[in-house]
Amino acid sequence: MLRYDSVDELIKAAEERDKNISDIVLEDQAQELGKSTDDIYHQMENNAKVMEESILDALHPHTKSASGLSGGDAYKLYMALEQGKSLGGSLMDKVLIKALAIAESNASMGRIVAAPTAGSCGILPSVLLAVQEDKKIPRPRMIMSLFTAAGMGMVIAKRASISGAEGGCQAECGSAAAMAAAALVEMLGGSPRMAGHACAMALKSVLGLVCDPVAGLVEIPCIKRNATGAINAVVAAQLALAGIESLIPADEVIDAMKEVGDLLVPSLRETGEGGLAATPTARKLAKKIFEDNKENG
């Protein structure tokens, strides 16, 4: 049985058996949950299906969140890119549209898969689905890579946290990007060790990122941080696939993330009281939303 207390454990277990991290996580979890590997795979496939559906859910001009603060940006981006206004090329276009669409679907009460949380739910699927589409990767390989992402996520949850209220945005969007980076490396044929480096590099890039949602809602800045988180994952995976290593091992980066999270004052941990949430504009928006709640309450 795997303990999920270090990324190193996952890499070594995979290397010893000359397998991918996803293979050993799938086998282990089948045992853990008392089901067949087929059952577990199909359950993950169902998650992938919901991820695919959540993109279409928000990709139209009238998407609006319940608060009215957000919506319609995924469509705006889609139209701009259709008109040839792309900076990053076809792959980046796909990643960005999907990340915004899934995060907007979440904000507008669409059905999503928490990965690892609802607030960061756009990062992992946008990266994997965009690359799968762009590089024409067989769907089963994309689904298997979700087990690698989950393995990394379990280690991060165990050693540190995946909750913004505990560790700030680094623990949510940072963890999601780290999971996505590792999964992407595996999906593109990189080694387990490369996947570990990708995980480390993505997380390193956002150490200290605070959780400061305007009016306490999962919208500003969460939706746009899903887009930057997705690109963070692509960058980390690209570097790792080129053989670039993180000199600080993934497990130590995760520990550093925990230490930084513990040092964050409560106003920067999802309370909606610090950072962007404390700006004059955010306070005005929050006041209006609170009063709207009262009126009809």
């Binding site: 979890q29 993950m44 507008s108 009460m109 669409g110 990965a115 992402a149 379990m154 306490g216 709640n293």
Partner: protein, 219 residues
């Protein structure tokens, strides 16, 4: 923790605590009521009170009361669905003493006049804790198969319930008994390892001093 705690749950957004957890609370209350609700007073405390509209907490709780799961897209439209079927509800912002920031107190009535009042908190990641049922302090999460048995406090009631479960080879993982006073209203909360058949519930309800039996399957 397993892979589906990290990649999952499938849920209606935007917040696992304020939306998915709220829907679970509503569904637990619905199961405790056992029938379609016709009237509800929903009191929201703390962060629930401040942000409920933006998080769809109201729609999630009403959806749960209508029997929808946290992943059911009908939650989006639950206020209209409730109105259409003649289910009247009121949302109030309250200040409950010493309560978790995401707490709801829900008083709900069915067509026959039966009323259930439940206080529950959404404690993160879609997980919830039920704190109070009809004035009896309880403490359970609904993550396991759970049997809730309001009964009259009397010697031997607990033994007759556990004896019956044992005769069906049902293993109890956790059990707590709460009462208002000696010989008064009491409640048993029993978490078991497997699903409970209706046949077992039907036998339990016939035991002496047992007033009601609610079986909650993990949501």
């Amino acid at each position: 923790m397993n892979v589906f705690d990290i990649i999952g749950p499938i849920m209606v957004g935007p917040s696992s605590s304020h939306t998915a957890g709220a829907a679970r609370i509503g569904k637990i209350v619905r199961n405790l009521l056992g029938q379609e609700p016709v009237e509800a007073i929903i009191e929201l405390h703390g962060s629930f009170a401040q942000t409920y509209k933006g998080h769809g907490t109201d729609r999630a709780i009403i959806g749960g009361l209508l029997g929808f799961d946290p992943h059911d897209l009908r939650i989006r439209d639950s206020l209209n669905i409730a109105a259409k079927q003649g289910f009247h509800f009121t949302i109030k912002q309250v200040n409950l003493k010493d309560a978790h920031p995401n707490t709801a107190r829900i008083s709900v009535r069915d067509g026959s006049g039966k009323r259930v009042v439940v206080t529950a908190a959404s404690v993160g990641g879609g997980n919830v804790v039920v704190r109070d049922i009809n004035g009896l302090e309880v403490d359970f999460t609904g993550r396991s198969h759970t049997i809730i048995i309001p009964h009259k406090d009397a010697p031997g009631v607990v033994a007759s319930v556990t004896g019956l479960l044992s005769s069906y080879n049902i293993n109890i993982g956790k059990m707590k008994v709460y009462r208002k006073r000696r010989g008064g209203e009491a409640i048993m909360v029993i978490e078991v390892d497997q699903e409970i058949d209706q046949a077992v519930a039907d036998k339990l309800i016939k035991l002496p001093c047992v007033n009601e039996v609610t079986v909650l399957n993990p949501l």
